[in-house]
């Protein structure tokens, strides 16, 4: 077992095209022996957002702090801390900070090719 505080885990800028003022901590990954899915924490500053994009894997999201807007092809959904969000594979999505404080959320993804 491994116990750490999230604040002690390195945070890096999200450099993907379309991301603005978004930073990421890789909390649990294959490095810890997690073979099935990875836990990441995103912090999006006011005025910032993740890319508006899609991919062939799902997101399981839990919102820790702040207020946001989830953009998708079916419109936008407001959310706040305590929100639980499931984004299906191939759904277009974008997380936008809609408040004046940091938006912080966990976003988990499956580890690629785990069944190959």
């Amino acid at each position: 077992m491994k116990v750490r505080n999230c604040e002690n885990i390195t945070e890096t800028e999200v450099t993907m095209d379309g991301a603005e003022k978004a930073r990421m901590r890789l909390l649990i990954s294959e490095k810890e022996g997690a073979e099935n899915f990875a836990m990441r924490m995103f912090t999006v500053a006011p005025g910032g957002h993740t890319p508006y994009h899609f991919h062939d894997y799902e997101h399981e999201v839990f919102v820790l702090e702040g207020k946001g807007l989830l953009r998708g092809e079916d419109g936008s959904h407001e959310f706040a801390s305590g929100a639980v969000i499931f984004v299906q594979p191939n759904e277009k999505h974008q997380f936008v900070n809609a408040g004046d404080s940091p938006l912080k959320f966990l976003c988990l993804i499956p580890v690629a090719n785990k069944c190959a």
Copy 2:
């Protein structure tokens, strides 16, 4: 995409042998279309704990509120909100509320037999 507040998701008592004053919300599961892993939220009241047990799948845990003790065969680890915990498959473990307020944490597990 599906957006809900965790407070609106049904909470049930954990009835597994060895659990005390522990309740669980199934936040994201196969019901939402999550084929790879499930997100659960546990709330353990003061004086309560999860079972001291092991199983052949991992736990990825993020602590939302409270103070706890993670018991294992290598001793006990104190933790508090913001803790990130990885429990390997087959490691004995128990989450104990070590404070005087509710201990709340997310605990994610792989969906069984997904590669079968």
